[in-house]
C-alpha cells in the first residue's frame, strides 16, 4: 500500500435498524471531492455490508472493540459495539489499530 497516500477516515454510528445515526468524514471532504459522490456513497455501501460481520462478531465476541472486521479494496472496516448494541464503524485506508482503538474507547 502506498504509504504516502492521504489517510482517510469515514466514521459512522449505526442504529438498531441499520440506519446511520451519525456520519463523519475525516479529513472533511474538499469541494472537489464532494463532487465525487460516487466514492462517498461507496463508503456507505461498504459500511452497510460490513454490518453482517459486526453482527456475527457480536455474537461470539465479548469485546466492545471488534478490531478490523472487514476489508474491501483499500478500505478497512473497524467496529466498536456499545453496551446498547449501537454499532460504531470506522472505514480507514491505512492500518492504524491502536489509534482507532483509542478513538473508539474515548
Amino acid at each position: 500500500m502506498d504509504r504516502n497516500q492521504p489517510k482517510d477516515f469515514y466514521f459512522v454510528i449505526v442504529g438498531h435498524h441499520d440506519n446511520p445515526v451519525f456520519e463523519m468524514e475525516f479529513p472533511p471532504p474538499s469541494e472537489k471531492k464532494k463532487k465525487e459522490t460516487d466514492n462517498r456513497h461507496l463508503n456507505q455501501f461498504i459500511a452497510h455490508a460490513a454490518l453482517d460481520l459486526v453482527d456475527e462478531q457480536m455474537q461470539n465476541n465479548q469485546n466492545m472493540y471488534l478490531k478490523i472486521v472487514d476489508k474491501f479494496n483499500e478500505w478497512f472496516v473497524s467496529a466498536f459495539v456499545t453496551a446498547g448494541k449501537m454499532r460504531f464503524l470506522m472505514l480507514h485506508n491505512q492500518r492504524n489499530e491502536e489509534g482507532i482503538k483509542n478513538f473508539f474507547q474515548e
Binding site: V14, G15, H16, H17, D18, N19, P20, V21, H41, Q44, F45, I46, H48, A49, A50, L51, D52, L53, D55, E56, Q57, M58, Q59, N60, D70, K71, N73, K85
Partner: protein, 1185 residues
C-alpha cells in the same frame, strides 16, 4: 446472470450435458430439466452402500472442461439430446409470460400429439445430436437422445439403444428410467476405470496432462527418470481416486488420494499435488458431512423462477431479521451424521485437518496462474467447510483473503465476466449463511463488473446487459432492508440506511429503464417516491417526478394497482401511491338535513326494556345514505411535492351495493402544510350496505388504487365507520313560499323566508308543498311549528288548515298550506321571560322600558318542520322519514304596545279596572278603539292610559292559587298555575280588546296583550276574592271614585256587605270594624285617625258569612279536570250579609275609612285582607256644607 457456486459435491457427480436438438422449445426444455433434476442418487451397491449422482448441465465452460484430465468431475461423461415437435416450439418461443406457460404446455403437447416430424426435421435432429456427440467424443462414455413427439419416425434415424422416444411429453413417464439407465451405464465404465490399476505395473505409464501445463514447464523432462514415473503413477493414482470418489466410495477415495499425494509430493509435481490435496479434502468432506448424498442441491439453480418473497420464506435460505440470526434446519441437517457411513471415518477427520489440506492445495495452485479458476473453485469449496462448521466469520474472512485478489483491477487473468461471476457466487454463499447485507453488496459488485465489460470491449452497453443485471439488482434490494411492497416500508429511522436504499432503488430503476422494462422502471420510480420522498433531496425528488411524468407520458397511463410480470420471472407487486397526494381524515358525511332519512322502527314491545347503553346511542347516530341521492365523504388532501400537483379522476372505491363514484379533478398547490378539504361524491344505486374501501386517482400519469387499510393512519377500529347503510329511494318534499328568502347563517342549507311585521298586525301567508320526486308519493306529513313560546295571546304563527297534510301527495303534486303571522309583542316571549312567582308584581316584567333602548324591531326565528315518509312501504319493515324545514325569520316592529299595567277596583265588588299604559312606538299618530267604541288617540312616542272595565272571573276561586303553590314540586306547581292562567286568559282576553289604527301609515292591528295575559299576578287580581266586600254610604253603593263631602258631626250610615264566594261551604266568622286614617301624600305611612271618628252604635260587629253550598256534595271536583266547567249552576247562591255602622267625623279634613275584618282564628280572613280589594271610602269633612 446466475450464480454457479462450485461445491464439494461436484467431485462426487457424473457430469452429463443436456442440449436441445432441432428447433428450440424453451418451456418444454425447462420442464425436462426440472424432471432431470428430480433424478436422485442412484444406488449401485448395497454393501458397501454406494450411490452415484448425475450432474446435469446445459452449458459447458470450455476452459474448465479441458481440465477433465486433471479432475474427473469436470469431464463430460454423458450427453443427452432433447428434441421436441417443431410446431409446438414456435408457439412457445413467442410467448414470454410465465402465466401463459401452463396453457402453452397443453397447447404444445396437443400439437405434439397431432403433428409429426417431417423427414428433414428428424435428420436435422439426428445431425445435431451426432455433432454434439462428436464434440465431446474424447470424454463422453455414453449418450441418449430423447425425442418428444412422433416416436415412430424417430426410431428410423437413431440407434435404438440411444433413443428415448415418446409420443407426448405427458406420456414420457419412463424418461427418467431411461436417464437412470444412462447414468448406470456410465457408472459401469467409470467403475471399470477405477478398478484398472494396470498402470502401477507399467514401466512407462502414460502421463495425464493439463492443457497448458507444457508451456509452463521449465526445461526438458527426463521421461525415463524414476521421478517421472513417480509423477505419472501419482497422477494416474489421483485419477483413480477421482473415479473412486465419483462412484460413491469416499472412504476408499481418501486412501487413494493419500497414495497419490505420497508419490506426487516425492516427484514435486505441485499442481497435481494440489489437485490430490483438494481431492482428499473433498473426499473427507463427503465422509464427514455426507456432502455428496441426500442434501443435493439442484444442479441448475434457476433462481429466476423464485420471487424475492419466496426466497425469504423458503426455509433453506436463512435470512436475518434484525440482529437475530436463525439458522435454518436445513443447515443443521447437513451436519447431522448420516447412518450410512461408519462412525470411525466420520469422527477421525477434524474439520481443521480438511482445512489444512485445502490450504495446502490453494498454496500450490497459487503457483500456477493458469490454474487460477481451479484455485478459485478450491477456495470456495474450502469455505464451505467453515460454513458447515458454522464459522461464518472465519468463512467470510477466508473468502475475503483468497477471493479478494481476483477482483482486483490489476488481476488480468480473469475478465470482468468471470469477476462478476465470482462476485455473484460470493453473494450466493453469503445468502446461504444469512449475510444478506454482504449478499446485496456482492450482487451489486457483480453487476458493476458485468456492466464493465462494455467499457473494456469498447462497445456500448446493450439492453441485454441490463436485462441480465436487472434481476440481480432487484433481488439484492432485500439485502438493504427494502421490503418488496412499498406499504411495508417503515417510517423514520426504522427504515434503515435510507441513503443506501435510495441509491440501490435508483440503480434498479435505471437498469430496468435501460433493459426496456419501462413498466417496471415506472413502478420502481413510484416506489422510490412513495417510500423515500422524505429522504430524497428536493431537487432529486423533483427530477424523479419529472422523469416519471416523462416516462408515463410516452407510454400512457401506468396502472400502479396491477402486478407486473417480467420476462426474467420477477413479478412486481402492485403499489398504492398513497403519498401523492396524502389523503387523511376520511369522514363519511351524512346527507344534508332535508335529505337525511330518519328510521322509524315499528315498536317492538317484546324488547321494550329500558336499559340505556352507549351503543344504542351510537347506532342511532350512524350515517344513512339514500338510493339515487348524491352523498359524500369528506377528505383532507395535502400535496407533499414541491410543485403543483394535478390529480384527475379522483373517486371513491366501494364494496357492497352498486355505487356510482363521481370523479373529481384537483390542482393542489406546491408542498406546504396547507390541507385542502374536499368532498368525494357518489350516488348509491341500490339499497343495502356500502363500505368505503379506498380511492383511485391519476397522478403524474399513474393510475393509483389505494385501500384505506393500507394507509398509515388507518386502524381496525375505524372499519365500522366506513360502512354505510343505504336505504331505499325516498321522495323529496320541496317547500316554496311567496316570502322573500335569504340564508341567515352560512352552513344552513335551507334559506330562511323573511318578513317584517308591526306588532299587533296579522297577515295571512301560504306555503306550497311540492313532491318533486318522479315516482314516489309522499304520505303522512307531520308538521311541527317551532316558534317562540308566548304565554298569552295569539301565537306568532297559526295554521289555518292542517287537513291538507293528511292526504297522500302524489309525485309532482302541489299543495298549499295557509298560515297566519301575528305580530306578538316583541318585548316578551317565553324565551326571555322571567319566571314569575305567584306573588310576582306586574311591574317586574316590564323593567326594561322600550323607550330606553334604541329599538327598531326584533328578529324572531321560527321554523316549519315537515316530517314525511314515502307512501311505498319498505320490505324490511323499517320506515324512513325525511324532514323538510322552512325557517322563517319574522322581524317585528313595535307599533302600539303595552308598557305598563295596573289593576284597580272596579265599579263594584265583582269588577276591576285594568289600566293599561299604551305606548305608541311609531312616528305617526295612532287611534285606539276599545270597550265598545270608545276612541282615544295617542301621539307618536307617547304613552296613554286606557282603563278597561273587566268583570272578575268567577270560574277560578281565589284560594286555588294558594293551593297550587302548595303542590309538591315546582313542575306541578307550574302546571297547575298555568292551567288556572289559561282559564283566566279565556275570560279576560275578550275584555282587553284594543284595536289600533294608524291612518297615516294605513296600518291597523291589535294591541298585543300577551304579556299581560301571561302575568299571573295580574290575572290573580281579576279573580273574584273569597270574601268580597262592598260598601254603601247612605244606602248608595260606593263606586270607589268620588269623594263624599260631609260636614263635621254629620252622621252617615255605612253599610258593609260581605259576600262569600267560596264553593266549599267555608263559613267566614269574625268581627268587622271600620278603620279611619289619613293619607298625607308625603310618602309616609298613613296616620291612624280613629279618634277623629265617632261611631254610633257598635264599633265592632261579629259576622258570619256562609258560602255557596253544593246542591250535591257527591263528586264534582272542579280542580281535578283540565276542562274547567263552571259549577255555578250547581250552587245555591247565598245572599250577601250586610252590616251597618253609623259614623260621624269630629274634625274637618280628608279621611279614608275602610272596613277591617278581624279574627285571629280564621287564616283565610288574613288572606282576604291581603288579596281582596277592600273598598276604601273617601270623606272630605268640611265645616260648612
Amino acid at each position: 446472470m446466475e450464480s454457479c457456486v462450485p461445491s464439494v459435491g461436484d467431485h462426487c457427480r457424473i457430469l452429463i450435458l443436456v442440449r436441445q436438438c432441432g428447433t428450440k422449445a424453451t418451456k418444454n426444455f425447462k420442464r425436462i430439466l426440472e424432471r432431470l433434476n428430480r433424478v436422485e442418487a442412484l444406488t449401485v451397491s448395497e454393501n458397501p452402500k454406494r450411490v452415484v449422482i448425475p450432474h446435469f448441465i446445459t452449458n459447458v465452460r470450455h476452459e474448465l472442461s479441458v481440465w477433465g484430465e486433471f479432475q474427473a468431475h469436470r469431464r463430460i461423461l454423458g450427453v443427452i439430446g432433447i428434441a421436441f415437435a417443431s410446431c409446438s416450439a414456435s408457439t412457445s418461443s413467442t410467448s414470454s409470460s410465465p402465466d401463459e406457460a401452463a396453457d402453452e404446455k397443453s397447447t404444445a403437447s396437443r400439437h405434439a400429439s397431432t403433428s409429426s416430424y417431417t423427414a428433414s426435421d428428424i435428420e436435422l435432429i439426428a445431425e445435431q445430436y451426432e455433432a454434439l456427440k462428436a464434440q465431446w467424443k474424447p470424454t463422453v462414455l455414453d449418450s441418449r437422445c430423447a425425442v418428444f413427439g412422433d416416436s415412430a419416425n424417430a426410431v428410423k434415424c437413431f440407434a435404438e439403444r440411444e433413443l428415448l422416444a415418446y409420443d407426448r411429453l405427458e406420456e414420457s413417464d419412463d424418461f427418467e428410467m431411461g436417464v437412470r439407465e444412462l447414468v448406470k451405464s456410465i457408472y459401469w465404465v467409470v467403475e471399470g476405470k477405477r478398478l484398472d490399476l494396470s498402470f502401477e505395473k507399467l514401466d512407462t505409464p502414460p502421463c495425464p496432462l493439463v492443457p497448458e501445463e507444457e508451456k509452463y514447464r521449465i526445461g526438458v523432462e527426463n521421461k525415463a527418470s524414476k521421478n517421472y514415473r513417480r509423477k505419472c503413477v501419482g497422477r494416474l493414482r489421483k485419477q483413480v481416486a477421482d473415479y473412486t470418489l465419483m462412484t460413491g466410495l469416499p472412504s476408499l477415495a481418501l486412501e487413494a488420494y493419500l497414495a497419490a499425494i505420497e508419490l506426487l509430493k516425492a516427484s514435486n509435481d505441485l499442481l497435481w499435488l494440489a489437485g490430490a490435496y483438494e481431492g482428499w479434502a473433498c473426499a473427507a468432506m463427503a465422509t464427514k458431512y455426507g456432502e455428496a448424498r441426500g442434501d443435493r442441491r439442484p444442479s441448475f439453480p434457476r433462481v429466476a423462477t423464485m420471487t424475492g418473497r419466496q426466497m425469504t420464506s423458503s426455509p433453506t435460505s436463512p435470512f436475518f431479521s434484525g440482529h437475530i440470526r436463525h439458522r435454518s434446519d436445513g443447515q443443521q441437517a447437513m451436519v447431522a451424521p448420516s447412518s450410512n457411513d461408519s462412525p470411525n471415518t466420520r469422527t477421525t477427520i477434524q474439520y481443521l485437518e480438511i482445512m489444512d489440506k485445502f490450504r495446502l492445495a490453494i498454496e500450490h495452485y497459487e503457483r500456477f496462474s493458469f490454474a487460477a479458476f481451479v484455485e478459485y473453485e478450491c477456495v470456495v469449496k474450502a469455505s464451505s467447510v467453515l460454513k458447515l462448521e458454522h464459522h461464518f466469520f472465519e468463512m467470510e474472512l477466508f473468502i475475503r483473503e483468497h477471493v479478494g485478489k481476483y477482483l482486483d483491477d490489476n488481476f488480468a487473468i480473469f475478465d470482468h465476466v468471470v469477476k462478476s461471476q465470482i462476485c455473484l457466487n460470493s453473494a450466493t454463499i453469503f445468502k446461504e449463511v444469512g449475510f444478506k447485507r454482504k449478499e446485496a453488496f456482492f450482487s451489486r459488485l457483480a453487476v458493476l463488473f458485468r456492466l464493465h465489460i462494455g467499457v473494456d470491449d469498447g462497445r456500448q452497453r446493450a439492453e441485454n446487459d441490463y436485462k441480465l443485471v436487472y434481476p440481480v439488482l432487484y433481488k439484492a434490494l432485500a439485502g438493504y432492508g427494502i421490503p418488496e411492497s412499498a406499504k411495508d416500508v417503515p417510517t423514520g429511522s426504522r427504515k434503515g440506511p435510507a441513503l443506501v436504499q435510495i441509491r440501490a432503488l435508483h440503480e434498479v430503476y435505471v437498469s430496468a429503464l435501460r433493459a426496456s422494462y419501462a413498466e417496471a422502471a415506472v413502478r420502481h420510480l413510484c416506489f422510490l417516491l412513495q417510500a423515500y420522498l422524505d429522504d430524497l433531496e428536493p431537487s432529486f425528488a423533483q427530477q424523479l417526478c419529472n422523469e416519471l411524468v416523462h416516462l408515463c407520458e410516452k407510454r400512457g397511463l401506468h396502472l400502479a394497482y396491477q402486478h407486473i410480470p417480467l420476462p426474467c420471472g420477477i413479478i412486481l407487486p402492485p403499489l398504492p401511491m398513497s403519498r401523492f397526494p396524502l389523503m387523511f381524515s376520511f369522514k363519511v358525511l351524512p346527507l344534508s338535513p332535508h335529505l337525511a332519512p330518519v328510521v322509524v322502527r315499528p315498536r317492538d314491545t317484546s324488547q321494550d326494556i329500558f336499559i340505556y347503553t352507549p351503543f344504542q346511542r351510537q347506532n342511532k347516530e350512524s350515517v344513512r345514505w339514500v338510493v339515487d341521492c348524491a352523498c359524500g365523504v369528506a377528505v383532507n388532501v395535502r400535496n407533499s411535492l414541491p410543485f403543483e400537483l394535478r390529480i384527475t379522476n379522483l373517486s371513491l372505491q366501494t364494496d357492497g351495493v352498486a355505487f356510482e363514484s363521481v370523479p373529481v379533478r384537483l390542482d393542489l398547490p406546491p408542498a406546504s402544510s396547507e390541507v385542502v378539504n374536499i368532498k368525494l361524491l357518489g350516488v348509491p344505486r341500490a339499497s343495502g350496505k356500502v363500505s368505503i374501501t379506498g380511492y383511485t386517482c391519476e397522478v403524474m400519469f399513474v393510475k393509483n388504487v389505494c385501500k384505506l387499510k393500507d394507509l398509515p393512519w388507518f386502524n381496525e377500529s375505524l372499519t365500522a365507520s366506513f360502512d354505510v347503510d343505504v336505504v331505499p329511494p325516498l321522495p323529496v318534499l320541496e317547500l316554496h313560499t311567496a316570502l322573500q328568502r335569504a340564508p341567515v347563517t352560512e352552513d344552513e342549507h335551507d334559506a330562511s323566508a323573511e318578513t317584517t311585521i308591526y306588532s299587533g298586525q296579522s297577515f295571512d301567508h301560504s306555503i306550497r308543498l311540492i313532491n318533486s320526486s318522479r315516482e314516489l308519493p309522499i304520505s303522512g306529513i307531520d308538521l311541527e311549528l317551532i316558534q317562540p313560546k308566548v304565554c298569552g295571546g295569539p301565537a306568532l304563527l297559526e295554521l289555518m288548515d292542517t287537513s291538507t297534510l293528511k292526504e297522500t301527495l302524489n309525485p309532482g303534486e302541489t299543495r298549499e298550506l295557509r298560515f297566519r303571522i301575528f305580530g306578538i309583542d316583541p318585548m316578551t316571549n317565553a324565551d326571555d321571560n322571567v319566571r314569575e312567582g305567584g306573588g310576582g308584581d306586574g311591574k317586574r316584567t316590564i323593567d326594561h322600558q322600550p323607550e330606553k333602548i334604541p329599538y327598531t324591531g326584533r328578529l324572531l326565528t321560527t321554523e316549519f318542520l315537515f316530517r314525511y315518509r314515502s307512501a311505498v312501504d319498505s320490505t324490511t319493515g323499517d320506515v324512513y322519514e325525511r324532514t323538510a324545514r322552512l325557517p322563517l325569520a319574522v322581524a317585528i316592529m313595535p307599533a302600539v304596545t303595552v308598557a305598563d299595567w295596573h289593576v284597580l277596583p272596579g265599579d263594584g265588588p265583582k269588577t276591576r279596572y285594568v289600566v293599561l299604559d299604551v305606548t305608541n312606538s311609531t312616528d305617526a299618530e295612532a287611534e285606539l278603539r276599545y270597550s265598545n267604541g270608545r276612541l282615544i288617540s295617542v301621539q307618536p312616542r307617547e304613552v296613554c292610559r286606557v282603563p278597561l272595565l273587566c268583570p272578575c272571573s268567577e270560574e277560578v276561586a281565589s284560594t286555588e292559587f294558594a293551593l297550587a303553590e302548595e303542590r309538591r314540586s315546582l313542575v306541578m306547581q307550574g302546571q297547575e298555575i298555568d292551567r288556572l292562567r289559561r282559564t283566566l286568559e279565556l275570560h279576560v282576553a275578550e275584555h282587553l280588546d284594543i284595536r289600533w289604527t294608524i291612518p297615516s301609515l294605513k296600518l291597523e292591528g291589535l294591541v298585543p296583550v300577551g304579556p299581560l295575559l301571561s302575568s299571573v299576578s295580574l290575572l290573580k287580581q281579576l279573580v273574584l276574592p273569597a270574601l268580597s266586600i262592598g260598601v254603601s254610604v247612605n244606602d248608595k253603593p260606593y263606586q270607589g271614585q268620588e269623594e263624599i263631602t260631609l260636614g263635621i258631626g254629620e252622621l252617615v250610615s255605612v253599610r258593609v256587605e260581605l259576600l262569600n264566594s267560596l264553593k266549599d261551604g267555608h263559613v267566614f266568622r269574625g268581627t268587622l270594624s271600620l278603620r279611619c286614617f289619613q293619607e298625607m301624600q308625603n310618602g309616609r305611612p298613613a296616620l291612624d285617625r280613629m279618634e277623629h271618628l265617632i261611631m254610633c252604635g257598635a264599633t265592632k260587629q261579629p259576622f258570619e258569612v256562609a258560602g255557596s253550598r253544593m246542591v250535591d256534595d257527591s263528586s264534582v271536583d272542579s280542580r281535578g279536570s283540565n276542562d274547567y266547567v263552571p259549577t255555578a249552576t250547581l250552587l245555591r247562591e247565598s245572599p250577601a250579609v250586610s252590616y251597618r255602622f253609623g259614623v260621624a267625623f269630629r274634625f274637618e279634613g280628608s279621611y279614608k275609612v275602610r272596613p277591617v275584618l278581624l279574627n285571629g282564628r280564621d287564616d283565610k280572613i288574613a288572606a282576604v285582607n291581603d288579596e281582596s280589594f277592600v273598598p276604601t271610602l273617601s270623606f272630605n269633612v268640611v265645616t260648612k256644607v
